[in-house]
Amino acid sequence: MDTPEEIILAANLEAYRLFGDPSIAPTTADEHVPASHCVWTRNILEQGLRGLPKDIIGLVSTHGCDCTNRQFDIWLDTVDLDFMYFLNSPLKRDQTAKDFFIQDMKELIRQLEDHFNIKISDQNLREQIALMNKIRKKLKELSEYRNKMMLKFSELHGLIKSTLTTDKTHALQIVNEKLEEVKTRESFSNESLKRVLLTGSVIDDNSFVKNVENAGFHIVIDDMCIGTHYFWHTMDESGDPLEAIANYHFEKPIYSTKVPSHKRYKFIENLIDNYQVEGVINIAQKFCESILYDHPFLSDKFRQNNMPYLFVEKGYNREAYKQLSTRFDAFAEII
């Protein structure tokens, strides 16, 4: 999620985020990656091995966890794509790391320019930053309607996914339309839903989110990459565009794959206060190490603060979701 979409857009390409598909099993990917590795990344690799849509001509993979980093070489070796770049988004969030990140983004630009015989100017980048900022602001405005109980997270989640996979001008239009429509809605505050915060791994299956909601929860706020992390801040539009992009990624809510990942708790704590959260649900995709390392820390913190907390490990198929319903029901009871 540190992939700078603005650079891809400035190259006059469309940024299309790859998501998992829980309806397929990673049978071919299992020939390349042991089954004890992250279920989600294996699922995406499976799609790569089966063949991505023809209009996907390149891949920018960004330094995340051990699994995604190491799997890039397997993509290079086995998936036929015209352009492939591994962006080393730094682990740390200090000035030295930021300077490095800018350098690596410059290299990405250089390789895109060389490969596609194009020129990416600062002006192009600024225009894309402005466009993305408009989308972010509207998404944040829309997200606030969750607090008024006029919008479910599953709807917002679906919209963010659309934004990540369509032309951004069109994305802005659909976000605007949704916002105008939501403003006219009645609140569903009379429904006895528990107000929860959702955090954890990359959760990209909209059905899973609906599953959580159907168990009697309203995800009033979240700490997810397909969620608040995508729109919480905006980029500076006046200064150096690459510095603005780097600042944005360094200042946005931290992921468990970056350090200090425990800072994630601070962000969640603020959200709990601001959104009258009654419980926290932390979802780990099976074998998602970053989340597994942070879970005991978060668990202790929530216990100290008497905040009901549910930790769930999930497989990447819809059959596996059903098995979780008892745990969700029990948690709703506790709250």
Partner: protein
């Protein structure tokens, strides 16, 4: 093969290797002494430049090594279960969980325990776990934690990228020295640093010399010497004492070579081993002897000789130490990209005259096991090198199915037999 009843086919370990216990003892005494003298101490993860710690008069401790000691004494399982009781998943790194349990249970150092350090040094050069591990423990112990972020090199990283990656690592090494100075008040002593670098280089090259001898048929040195012998390369690189030990190991191995003596009486199959050994069951490797097989090369133990990058000469190590350390952190056996890994494997198989490769699919070391299947595929399909994947774990005995592994090995040796 029905050789289980036959006479033991192996020779004992090198006499010099028996001195390893003393060397390890020295290390632990030095740690104890540091605490008595109020000298600063640091936890460090493997792959970090321990030499900088010695150069600035900080006593290093490597919890990974401590975890292997727990495993060798069959204590790791209990420590791991203690960590799991604290909420750490069954699927997480068994070194990490051994350390969590050992600290929680206040295990003594000779059983794999460690003491609270002045600060911690970790890096993602090998895995993210190292950083997550020390983040967890630094917070619990309330000590400062410095992280060296090492960019990940992939098969299409170009030289231009590599240059600024190196610059990034170098900058952090300078920052790390400032960090040590701030915490301990110790400044870098260039004369001492040079001496430490010289010792480190000599130690690494000696280890490589021992590996060079293993190219001989029969191979004079087995894993009985190399798995344990690895310890000083992690914890004591930069000191004089392990150099003497390695020199003795080399002399003795050379003598075996000169006299045509192998570590195995009857060497039939020469194998390479990829991955971390099963520290709780090192005897397992002796079982290969019943098939007349000996491991002549382990990428893991070779990797930590550190100076495997031919671009890093002694002159660079001594006169441009930060540049050398940065480059060494970016490129070494354990973290090679897939393409380089395959290329190096092919070269190694030829040079060490290897008949087959055992690949450890380590359940709790994902960076190491990712790419293993493709490594196997390339070696088998492109280079006709027989490979066998063994599913196991480095420190968690619960994840070892010995019978299943033996059955797989039995079939593997049948294949090797047919190729002879």
């Amino acid at each position: 093969m029905t050789t289980q009843e036959e006479e033991p086919k192996r020779r004992k370990v090198l006499d010099a290797t028996m001195g390893l216990k003393n060397i390890m003892g020295r290390h632990y005494l030095a740690v104890e002494q540091a605490y008595r003298d109020g000298k600063p101490t640091a936890w460090a993860t493997s792959g970090t430049p321990v030499e900088l710690l010695y150069s600035m008069d900080v006593q290093p401790m490597l919890p990974e090594n401590s975890a292997t000691i727990s495993a060798a004494q069959h204590l790791s399982k209990d420590f791991i279960e203690t960590a799991e009781e604290q909420g750490f998943s069954y699927d997480l790194c068994s070194y990490f969980k051994t350390n969590i349990g050992a600290v929680a249970e206040k295990a003594e150092m000779l059983k794999g325990g460690t003491r609270k350090p002045t600060f911690m040094l970790s890096s993602d050069v090998i895995c993210d776990t190292h950083v997550d591990w020390f983040q967890t423990q630094a917070e619990r112990m309330n000590v400062p934690h410095f992280i060296i972020d090492v960019p990940h090199i992939v098969s299409n990283t170009n030289q231009r990228q590599y240059n600024y990656y190196k610059e990034y690592v170098s900058k952090q090494l300078w920052e790390f020295m400032e960090f040590i100075e701030e915490i301990t008040g110790h400044e870098i002593d260039m004369e001492k640093a040079r001496k430490v670098a010289e010792n480190s280089y000599e130690l690494g090259m000696l280890w490589q010399d021992i590996f060079e001898l293993r190219k001989n048929v029969p191979c004079p040195v087995s894993t009985r010497d190399t798995f344990g012998g690895l310890f000083p390369l992690f914890t004591m690189t930069g000191l004089k004492a392990p150099i003497r030990l390695y020199k003795r190991m080399y002399r003795e191995a050379k003598e075996r070579v000169d006299n045509g003596i192998g570590a195995l009486r009857e060497e039939k199959y020469r194998l390479a081993f990829e991955g971390i050994p099963f520290w709780y069951n090192l005897k397992f490797f002796s079982k290969l002897e019943k098939w007349g097989a000996i491991i002549v090369y382990e990428t893991y133990t070779y990797a930590f000789s550190k100076y495997v990058n031919p671009d890093i000469t002694k002159d660079i190590v001594l006169n441009h130490p930060i540049e050398a350390m940065s480059e060494l952190m970016l490129k070494f056996w354990y973290i090679y990209d897939l393409k380089t890994r395959v290329k190096k494997y092919k070269e190694m198989v030829e040079e060490w005259n290897v008949d087959g490769v055992l690949l450890h699919n380590n359940m709790s070391c994902r960076p190491n096991s990712c790419g293993l299947y493709d490594l196997k595929r390339h070696l088998q399909e492109d280079h006709d090198i027989p490979c066998l994947i063994i599913d196991c774990d480095m420190n968690d005995p619960r994840k070892m199915n010995e019978t299943q592994i033996e059955n797989k090995l039995s079939s593997f040796f049948e294949i090797l037999k047919q190729r002879k």
